[in-house]
Amino acid sequence: MANAAAFRVCPETGLKVCHHAEILIKANAVVAVVFLAIGGLFGLLVALTRWPAVHILPADLFYLALTAHGADVLLFWIIFFEIAVLYFASAVLLNSRLAAPKWAWFAFALMLVGALMANVAVLQGESSVMFTSYVPMKAAPHFYLGLIVFAVGALIACFVFFGTLVIARQERTYEGSIPLVTFGAVTAAVIAVYTIASGAIILIPTFLWSVGIIPHLDSIMYKVVWWGMGHSSQQINVSAHVAVWYAIAAMVLGAKPLSEKVSRTAFLLYIAFLQLASAHHLLVDPGISSSWKVFNTSYAIYLAVLGSMIHGMSVPGAIEAAQRRRGLTQGAFDWLRRAPWGNPAFSGMVLSVIMFGFLGGISGVVLGTEQLNLIMHNTLYVPGHFHATVVAGTTLAFMAITYLVVPLIFRKEIMFPGMARWQPYLFGLGAMGISFFMMGAGTLGVSRRHWDMTFADAVLKFEYPPAAFLMMGLNGISALLATLGGIMFIVIVVGSVFFGKPRDEAAIKRNPVIGPSGGAAVSQYGGEATFNLPGTTILVAVFFVSFVLYYFINWKYLSEVWPLR
């Protein structure tokens, strides 16, 4: 093969790593982390402003920082990292060369230019329109243009990914079906194409409107289509971070999915149903019928939620089975107690699974229930929910896999291993606090995207209950913890990548990244069905009971508000 010279063989996994793929993974991951740092800083400023005792920014800068925070972390950090995940899951896991590396670089350049353009627009101060940029509020034209250019870049990157899959198949670089992690990445990429198409359908007219070519945009039409991008892009994150969960469990513990069929079907449920979630944002809007809302908001009968609930069982199930296979068979939880809790890749992944499920998943279903949305819409409950999914879920999962990417792809030793050990816990605790306390404040009615919860300058007066102020203070403290965890992450990653010791053979022997039970040896063992998994059964039962209780508690809350019809 002509490109044979452009590969190296990974001494730790035996995988052939395409040179182009490797550099592109590095470039996308590094830029992702830069945007995480910038966006995280804006997030801290937002949280400190919303902490009434601190209230650090003036109103205009607060709304500016909040817009920048949303764009930088929710779009740029996550999507740059996801592109790295896509290249990893295609070229690296399939032993293939990357399709069209020049196009991949072009995609990278477009994404970078678009992201910078949008940031400039926001920092100039004329585009503090929030991440959602609901019309008829208008931003500067280059705000929309930046997002469009970024999206086109991301779309090209998705097609490089699909092209790589085709090449790998044609050149027979793997046997049989693609790995589950790659399958999850395919799911993410398919949803990404849908998402970006929705984005184009709404952002291009919005751009034309902002320069005066189109006279009027309907605000409800905008919301329906915009959320076809806005919510679906969160489903890219779900697919990608679930794939990352499986990848970490496989690399660190040699975990196999309980059954390929179930896990893959769960991913297919995402593709089929997640797009309906645009409805989550229109549950209290005029002009939309209840039957449309009920069907769409529940992804038809909660079929995408079913997908997540399946992964929520099969990821811990796979870990438990792998651990039991290694002989940790005592009691229900010996396998969990004796898991590698000091390995940040593992601990970050587990915290991500737990918090995504318990905090993000349950709150998302409750929030997305047609009538329950009445007592939550646009309160801080909403950011509480999505910080549990996107920060505690996606971001923590991506941080976790970075602890594997640095040694395997950058081939550098992790610097400050003592700090790395604690980083996921600190960041996870902070993210949990942010989510939990914002949900608490939201339950008490506190508005999101609001500079002054004391209403000091308003003509009329109103005071939220004192507990809401307490919640916002605790939210600020949690944001400080998360920031500390984030800074530690960036210090570790930047330090390792740019100043770390190269990972030579001695280092690989001394400190293997691929767990002792991982690698090819494990795949010789028998089917997972031979094990009983009492630990996972208990965990799933606890989850289910919490879910049911919390769901009906909120119906109780709803039944106490003024009757409406």
Binding site: Y134, P136, M137, G176, S177, P179, L180, S219, I220, A247, A249, K256, P257, L258, S259, E260, K261, S263, P286, I288, S290, V294, S298, I301, Y302, L306, M309, I310, G317, T369, Q371, L374, I375, M376, H377, N378, T379, L444, G445, R448, H450, D452, D457, A458, V459, L460, F462, S523, A529, L533, V540, F544, W555, L558, S559, V561, W562, P563, L564, R565
Partner: protein
């Protein structure tokens, strides 16, 4: 492993783990329960958002609100003389959302039903009734009509909870609920 192709090339013929079958069944049924709960609440519940809405021009909506104010104003409040309006029980109550106020102040009777009309004059706004905690999105060019029955008396705030520019945090309205005389 999840990062390698399935060892069994016919993976789709592998039997399922018993726990998987049980959990999938439970999770699916729970989805059905949650779906039916929303439907059930439409039949038996008291809190359902109206499907009644009309296209309306901001000027036309403002004219209706002003007509109501002219007819049912009971007093004015504050330095800016915001009218306090007491629409008849069972009647129409209009509330305008605009940068950056809710206009006028409504005075409702506890236990009576009102047809509350909401629309925006400019951008999107969020009707957030506190401390009751009812939250409704308000769009320009759409008039939403909901029938609401206050069950507590007292002073209620209407917070704007959709970001609407630099004065957003000062956009605070009021609804009084008084006991029947």
């Amino acid at each position: 492993m999840a990062i390698t192709p399935p060892e069994n090339r016919l993976w789709w013929n592998e039997p399922l783990h018993r726990m998987e079958i049980v959990w999938i069944t439970i999770a699916f049924l729970w989805g059905v329960v949650m779906f039916l709960t929303m439907v059930y609440w439409h039949i038996a519940g008291q809190q359902n958002l109206s499907n009644e809405a009309y296209r309306v021009k901001p000027d036309a909506f403002a004219a209706k609100a002003e007509a109501m104010v002219a007819r049912y104003k009971v007093r004015e409040e504050g330095d800016s003389k915001i009218p306090v309006v007491r629409p008849p029980a069972g009647g129409d109550a209009y509330l305008i959302a605009r940068l950056w106020e809710w206009w006028p102040i409504l005075e409702l009777e506890k236990g009576q039903s009102y047809r509350l009309h909401l629309s925006s004059m400019d951008w999107l706004h969020g009707f957030s009734l506190q401390p009751t905690n009812i939250n409704i999105q308000v769009h320009p060019n759409y008039e939403m009509v909901l029938t609401v029955t206050p069950t507590q008396s007292g002073e209620f705030a209407v917070v704007c909870n959709e970001f609407c520019g630099i004065g957003h945090h000062n956009m605070l309205g009021r609804i009084y609920v008084v006991d029947r005389k």
